[in-house]
């Protein structure tokens, strides 16, 4: 499956989970930002172009689902996606500590951009008190999520290798 299709599927899944969380457990929906998580994780595994496009698409979907001004999360996620993709080319992302740090920094930057733009444009409610909690919660969810993501990717790669081995003519 090409990267765009996989990313679109992941985005759809994250959107669904966010919508469900907003209905079932609103506090969790407001605390953990799964969209940022998706942007960071996809940027860690991809290149700069995938970071920019993935971040932009994710942010615009988030803008569509939320009541924020259109483009607010698009801009923030685009910056985070591009930044994390460029950073991941310079650091060893296989280390759990580094990956966790990137998730935390990405979430923090995202929140800072959103709050800064809201303040500058005066187009929405500004509440900076929840930012540390969001950063910690998103990072706490992101690190195991990254581990699961890596495991799932390894499993898919293993399955693909096995499948190709069986299909090879003897």
């Amino acid at each position: 499956m090409p990267w765009a299709a996989r990313f679109a599927a992941s985005l759809a899944l994250v959107s669904l989970v966010e919508l469900l969380l907003a209905e079932v457990l609103p506090v969790a929906g407001r605390t953990v930002d799964l969209f940022v998580l998706l942007v960071v994780l996809s940027s860690l595994a991809g290149n700069s172009l995938q970071g920019v496009t993935g971040g932009l698409a994710t942010g615009l979907v988030q803008d569509t689902l939320s009541a924020s001004p259109f483009g607010l999360h698009g801009l923030a996620c685009c910056v985070v996606g591009y930044g994390v993709a460029r950073l991941s080319q310079r650091v060893d992302t296989s280390q759990r500590m580094v990956a966790g740090l990137l998730v935390a920094v990405g979430t923090l930057v995202h929140q800072a951009i959103v709050l800064g733009l809201l303040t500058a444009l005066e187009v929405g409610e500004v509440s900076g008190g929840a930012v540390p909690l969001r950063v910690v919660a998103t990072t706490a969810v992101g690190v195991p999520g990254l581990w699961l993501f890596n495991r799932a990717r390894a499993w898919v790669d293993e399955r693909r290798t096995l499948k190709e081995g069986r299909a090879r003519p003897r």
Binding site: S48, G71, C78, V79, Y82, A120, L121
Partner: protein, 279 residues
């Protein structure tokens, strides 16, 4: 896609999103635009300053190079003239030895402070303070100059002081000549404080504004070749002599020091005798 293109794509996306956001908040759009524009304008202004400084530096350098080249040329000319003068001096020495001609001995100059100057009133004069022990009646009629040219002559001395009759005084007369043509005349002071007249130059003589006037060494007081001034106007009103106005070389408004020449003038008795012979 190369990293540069991705960066451009990223910048375009961010710009478009910012534009979209500002469009949703028109009242703050100006501020946001200012945030974006101000650093860009600052960068442009800084680049302009750098470019201006570089251009100015280049112009200054070009001007200095031209000046330097001109000065080098002038130096070469002067060196050539100096070498020619040294050669002429040597030649004069060689030729004068068999004739028994003795060149005037070198002149000593005595530096004096100018303590009083009056160059506007009826009697235009200055008072010099001479180094202690140098003043005396024997200083009368000694030439006085500055670094620029002729100032006048000593008319009285007493104590450590000497009174100088300025070249611009109406009673002052100096034997002078036009340097370019060597034609001689008499320089006198005029009614105007800063103007001299050069008299007794026939109308047939070529005189032009800008000609340098120097002492002619024919008056028994001033040695030859001291700069007196520059011709500023020449009029020929039908008489047999030009009416020549000369601007003095020395700026009387900025006097501070002067040189008194130790050279002995021709004794007055001899001058009187010459007058008697002339009669």
């Amino acid at each position: 896609m190369s990293e540069r293109r991705v960066a451009i794509l990223f910048a375009v996306a961010v710009t478009l999103l910012l534009a979209s956001l500002t469009a949703q908040s028109p009242e703050r759009a100006g501020d946001v635009a200012l945030w974006v524009e101000a650093p860009a304008k600052g960068l442009v202004a800084a680049a302009g300053d750098v470019a201006n400084r570089m251009r100015e530096g280049w112009r200054t350098r070009a001007r200095l190079e031209r000046e330097n080249e001109a000065l080098r040329g002038r130096l070469r000319e002067l060196e050539t003239a100096h070498a020619a003068a040294l050669g002429a001096e040597l030649e004069v020495d060689l030729l004068s030895a068999p004739l028994g001609y003795a060149r005037p001995r070198d002149v000593e100059l005595l530096l004096a402070d100018v303590v009083y100057v009056d160059y506007h009133s009826w009697r235009r004069s200055a008072i010099l303070r001479l180094p202690h022990g140098n003043a005396g009646a024997e200083w009368a009629r000694r030439p006085v100059t500055t670094v620029d040219g002729l100032l006048g002559r000593v008319v009285a001395a007493g104590g450590d002081y000497a009174r100088v009759l300025l070249v611009t005084d109406r009673d002052s007369s100096v034997g002078a000549m036009i340097e370019r043509t060597r034609r001689q005349g008499i320089v006198r002071g005029t009614e105007e404080a800063g103007v001299l007249s050069l008299a007794y130059v026939p109308v047939q003589v070529d005189v032009r504004p800008g000609d340098r006037v120097v002492t002619a060494g024919i008056d028994g007081v001033f040695p030859r070749g001291i700069p007196v001034g520059t011709v500023i106007s020449v009029e020929s009103s039908g008489d047999q002599f030009h009416e020549i106005k000369v601007a003095p070389r020395v700026d009387l408004g900025s006097l501070s020091h002067a040189f008194v020449w130790r050279r002995d003038p021709v004794p007055e008795a001899v001058m009187d005798g010459a007058d008697a012979v002339g009669r």
